[in-house]
């Protein structure tokens, strides 16, 4: 790209393009767009990030992102506290919340075990998960991690740590997507589905 006519402009473009998925050209377009806004709008824009970084908290129970000490899910009295769902990060909480099917509470690990990427068990919120389970409140821990090798490793690790507690340990079902035709389902998933088939009664009241 051509050298930019202003050092200030160049700094702004460099900052913008430091974001994932944003190249130099897109960065320039966004920066020029911001430049057209009035000063108050820009203050509001940049202030939002400063405030976000300064004031955001992790829930002191489940480590989800929130504004208060405790997140809205953990402080909701109507939630079923005997069900504890372990997820990788905040996006997974949102995905599960969007289903509208889950009334339990969460525990956000903050990542997934992958020694190759330098993430070991001690980098994740596993100690606090064990403390929560020790209280005896959760009766079932659901491991809702990605169906990848790293997800498997993390599941095995949690299983080892949790198997001696008097709780039920479960994991998300792997199966045929709703609305999918069998001939187009991938073989591994279909193979799992037939091995871990479910009683038909389970489908009656859904």
């Amino acid at each position: 790209m051509q050298p930019l006519p202003s050092k200030l402009l160049e700094d702004a473009v460099n900052e913008m393009s430091s974001l994932p998925g944003i190249g130099k050209k897109t960065a320039l377009r966004l920066v020029l767009h911001l430049l057209k806004r009035d000063t108050a709008a820009i203050d509001q824009f940049s202030g939002a990030f400063v405030k976000l970084k300064r004031d955001i908290r992790n829930c002191n129970i489940c480590h989800n992102l929130c504004d208060e000490e405790t997140c809205t899910i953990c402080s909701d009295r109507n939630r079923d506290r005997s069900l504890l769902c372990v997820v990788e990060d905040v996006r997974d909480v949102m995905a599960l919340e969007n289903t509208g099917q889950y009334r339990g509470i969460y525990h956000v690990l903050g990542g997934i075990i992958s020694p190759l990427e330098g993430t070991g068990p001690s980098d994740l919120n596993i100690e606090s998960l064990l403390l929560r389970v020790q209280t005896g409140e959760p009766k079932e821990v659901i491991m809702a991690l990605s169906a990848t090798m790293e997800g498997d490793t993390t599941n095995f690790y949690l299983f080892r740590k949790l198997k001696d507690f008097n709780i039920k340990l479960s994991t998300l079902a792997r199966g045929v997507s709703v609305g999918d035709e069998l001939e187009y389902a991938d073989e591994v998933t279909l193979g799992r589905s037939i091995l871990n088939r479910t009683p038909f009664e389970n489908n009656l009241n859904r």
């Binding site: 075990i113 992958s114 020694p115 190759l116 330098g118 070991g120 068990p121 001690s122 090798m149 790293e150 498997d152 490793t153 095995f156 690790y157 080892r160 740590k161 591994v188």
Partner: protein, 364 residues
Amino acid sequence: MELKSLSLVNFRSHRDAAYNFTEDVAVFTGPNGAGKTNVLDAIHYLSFCKGFLNPTDSQNIHLGEPFFLIEGKFKLNEKNEQISCGLKRGQTKIFKRNSKEYAKLSEHIGLFPLVLIAPTDIVLISGGSEERRKFTDTVISQFDRNYLEHLIRYNKIVQQRNAFLRQGQNDRSMLEVLNMQLCRYAPEIYEARKSFLNRIAPLFSKYYQILSSHNEEVSLVYDSGLNEYPMEDLLERSVERDRVMQYTTEGIHKDDLEIRVNGFPLRRYASQGQQKSILIALKLAQFDVMAELKGIKPLLLLDDIFEKLDQDRITALMTLVSQQHFGQIFITDSHPERVTDILGSIDCPYDRFSIELLQQTSQD
């Protein structure tokens, strides 16, 4: 399976060439750089959707031309089949069977099986154990789909475990989790390799005996830690060593195919001629295994394999492969008369193609 004809346009050194095959043996002779091997490379394309000489497709287009096209007419299970592979510069390769384009190239690979013996394959004998593991894995994955899947997962966990060992943490339960995952895949891979070895080893010994006129005995032994201990025990026993070495020292990723000549490990003293004969015996054994499992006789491509072999072994080899047992064979040799003289002496009919140097620049 038979290849009836082959036509090449702008493929490597060939601007425009066509060959009709009427006999089971086709011999290509000519000076260095004329393009004998390039004909075999084109046949390899029709079988594996890629060449064995240059992994970059676009570099196989004749210098300065806009495209290449390879077409072959086959007879498979009494049916005529036409396979074509074309590439325009800057576009993706177009692969067709009976004028219908494949959506995925992987659908084609394996339908028209082929066994190639090329000079570079000698690393299979002289190189490290990973070359022989790759050979084993490639052959097994062609008829066992789960095998490759399990192998990929196993290797991924080995990488994770090695990274974990390098970090030098003393987290016992993390190590056990990784061990548990290795133990989930290792036994299946081991069993698949063992049964493949049991199949190929006697064939290998038989073919080597024929090539060496029964002077030497060779054997193929599957060398794996799992021969003695289950994976769990192997990992348990090597835990201290793994910590010091900072990688996983035991497991099926350390397996080897050990080749023994008269009972002794080959690697240290075998002559180049012996190595070559061993390579050929191993590939012919692979041919038999594939023919049996797929029910189709693969094409057999022998690229310049006579160097370093004495006259007796060449004659033994040609007598062997010209039998009905092997299907159609394609041979290249820079010596104009050597192969044809031998074929003549054993009364084997053949097609002979003499390939001349192009006047213009060649890119062999």
